[in-house]
């Protein structure tokens, strides 16, 4: 089964990047999917997901667990989750960002699911959704301090 069409994939070079911006996204697919294998160079593993350089403004909800306790709530903006610098060296967390009907004029509803990988007790899972405005999505911005070898791939889904 073809899962989707790879539009672009990028691996962060030495020195890292404060954001990964996929711009000029073709408007020829039904949905888009970003698959991220990532690690941040700071002590937090969360990064913000923006559409068209704009934060989510409403309806952000998350379900969060560490294997022992779970919680749910609202952060106000949409976050993804990967490994932080506190995790085992050379491990990377994973996040998938799904944006259905990204090219139309309907309200954009985005889902994000992320897990961390760690050779230690602490490991986290987070499932999040949020809505954005109705503008067609031409760019997706992943914002925080991504470390070298983090890899983000953008797929188009028909």
């Amino acid at each position: 089964m073809t899962y989707g069409t790879l539009i672009n994939t990028q691996t962060i070079a030495a020195g890292g990047a404060a954001s990964i911006d996929f711009n000029s996204i073709p408007q020829t697919y039904t949905d888009i999917l970003i698959v991220l294998s990532g690690r941040l160079s700071i002590g937090s593993g969360v990064f913000e997901v923006k559409l068209n350089s704009t934060s989510s403004t409403s309806n952000e909800k998350y379900l969060y667990g560490d294997g022992t306790t779970g919680s749910s709530g609202n952060n106000g903006v949409l976050y993804g989750l990967v490994d932080s610098s506190a995790y085992t060296a050379n491990t990377f967390g994973n996040t998938q960002i799904y944006i259905p009907n990204y090219a139309g004029s309907n309200t954009k509803i985005v889902s994000v699911d992320g897990v961390t990988e760690n050779n230690a007790t602490t490991s986290l899972q987070k499932l999040t959704t949020a809505t954005f405005g109705s503008s067609a999505v031409t760019s997706v911005n992943l914002v925080n301090s991504f470390a070298q070898y983090s890899t983000a791939s953008l797929y188009g889904i028909k």
Partner: protein, 74 residues
């Protein structure tokens, strides 16, 4: 040495990817976002600690341990 913050900008139309230094405005926004997240996280942890304290106070009043409460709720 001052670290130069840069972002990876990908033009999906051409496939070209370039590293671009952040503007002063982007650096300020980044710092504001980090502060907002830290505040939200502190608020969330404080709320969770308050809920936990309330749970423990109720269990103490009832004379139950956490394990006994799990048995009752299971």
């Amino acid at each position: 040495m001052t670290e130069i913050l840069q972002k990876l900008v990908v033009d999906c139309g051409t496939g070209e990817a370039t590293y671009v230094p952040l503007t002063a405005e982007e650096i300020a926004q980044r710092e504001a976002d980090a502060l907002a997240y830290a505040q939200e996280q502190a608020d969330r942890e404080a709320a969770e600690a308050a809920r936990q304290a309330q749970r423990e106070a109720i269990m103490t009043r009832l004379g139950l341990t956490a394990d006994e409460l799990k048995v009752l709720l299971g």
